[in-house]
Amino acid sequence: MSHSNADAGALPSYLEVSGRRTGILGWIFSTDHKRIGILYMILILGFFLVALCIGLLMRLELLLPGPTIVQPNTYNALFTLHGVIMIFLFIIPGIPAMFGNFFLPIQIGAKDVSFPRLNLASWWLYAIGAVMALLSLFTGGGVPDTGWTFYVPFSLRTGTNVPLAVLAVFVMGFSSILTGLNFITTIHRLRAPGMSWFRMPLFVWSLYATAWIQILATPILGITVLLVFLERLFGIGLFDPAKGGDPLLYQHLFWIYSHPAVYIMILPAMGVISEIFPTFAKQKIFGYKAIAFSSLAIAFVGYLVWGHHMFTSGISDTSRWIFSLLTFIVAVPSGIKVFNWVATLYKGAIEVPPPMLFALSFIFLFSIGGLTGFVVGALATDIHIHDTYFVVAHFHYVMFGGVGIAIFAALLYWFPKMFGRMFRYRPFFISWVFIFVGFNTLYFPMFIMGWLGMPRRYYDYMPEFQIWHQISTVGSWLLATGVFIFFIYFVKSLRAPRGAPDNPWGGTTLEWRVPSPPPAENFIEIPTVTAGPYDHHGEGDA
């Protein structure tokens, strides 16, 4: 650790240094990785709140059987929008774009990513893709009603504005690819002296694995949506059974991307948890290498399991058991991580401020999501619960209970560093109670009604499901209350007085050794790293 970085507090922070342009232009044309991270954060969290409200509307519609607040076609549009926004605009870019951009260079001791201008271009592509997605709602045949999966042949036949929506997905895919490319190059080329591969924080490892999936899977989505687009425009016939095309080929191509995409979402969340646990347990992480390698293993095995989305679609029996077997295997590295996190707590001096509380509930919710994954991954049971609310519950436990909660944890964990201010704990404890209780009230009944046979994406239901739907809808109100409390106080805390300490939590990774908020180029002098990332009792540790 060089002395000069301790004096860096005298330097203006990235919040003040806007580059050549000033005001908002100094943000939207900034190539500073930290500013780009914040830009992403504004859009991504904005879209999250929009999609959350759409989800609330869906739950409200389902409060009573029959038409309640919207018509069936509107309901189709609502769940499509909810899915498209949550997946392509919120959770896929999510952690890498917000926190990866902000912290990856700092955590490896670099001044920026390898290609800062390309990084800015990624954000612009994301923004353009988002605008296109929004335009698709109001132009052409209206809001797409296909579900976020754009399954053919319906997506070829429906009159709604599918072409623009899939083009938007294509553009956002490009953004994701460029971010991945930038991160891989940065990790290979810009690590500080002494920052060997096994001294990298686990968050960086998880971003590295994620970036590889972004590079190697996203193009398949690109070509898939491009083919749908061409199909709509010229009728090339590849997915159209009327012309000899094969809808199952679409499903293959779609899930070849979209299953690994699940790991694009969850791996960085696991990285966040791997940062937060050692900090608040005041312990070295248990099984550093096991966690690092399990990230790579998940990235790889995650490639081999896409067929489990297609068990009931008529694919061959041979491929069904192969995909099922591989699905069970992919649970192993995830399990390794969970055990290592729990072991990290053992005999630790555990503190539980809000970020740690969210991180702990990640373990609980993610485990439920993960374990129910076995139920949907097994052939026989999947036939029973395919396309029911069981599946909806399963992936919400993983995606929201896992990734979403990890994003909340990360927002709080890195808040002092990003903005140089502290928040009060109490509002976030209260919001946590609403979120945790609301979440389980909302999604757990879905397991039950799914098991009983309630199909997903239905606007109406049989009377016997009413009680579960009503519990679930009440849960949605609790959850939304919690989320709104969270964000109201998040914004309020942005106006708290400056003066967060450089290292409020006692973290050991490099971002805690630069001022809060960090200066424009992070380090006055590139640090020399002499120890592993979670060395709580080593030398040079205050």
Partner: protein, 92 residues
Amino acid sequence: MEKKELVPYGTYIMIWFGLLVLTGVTIIAASLHFGQWSIMTAIAIATVKGALVLFIFMNLKREERLFKIMLSLALITMTVIMVLTFADISFR
């Protein structure tokens, strides 16, 4: 710039000539109608041609090991996608 040894112009011209010859070979082979084997022959020849471009023209031969590892990752991915899709298609 590390002082790399320069590849003589002649090497590239030789490779180019080899690529043209292989193109001729693949056209002739196709006209011979090997039946089932014709697709294998064509793909094998295309692979050799592709490898020549990758290793010589794209200089992969002289790059660090990292580049070769990365390329093999991409190719493994492609193979996995093909094999697992055909686990369905071939047995449907």
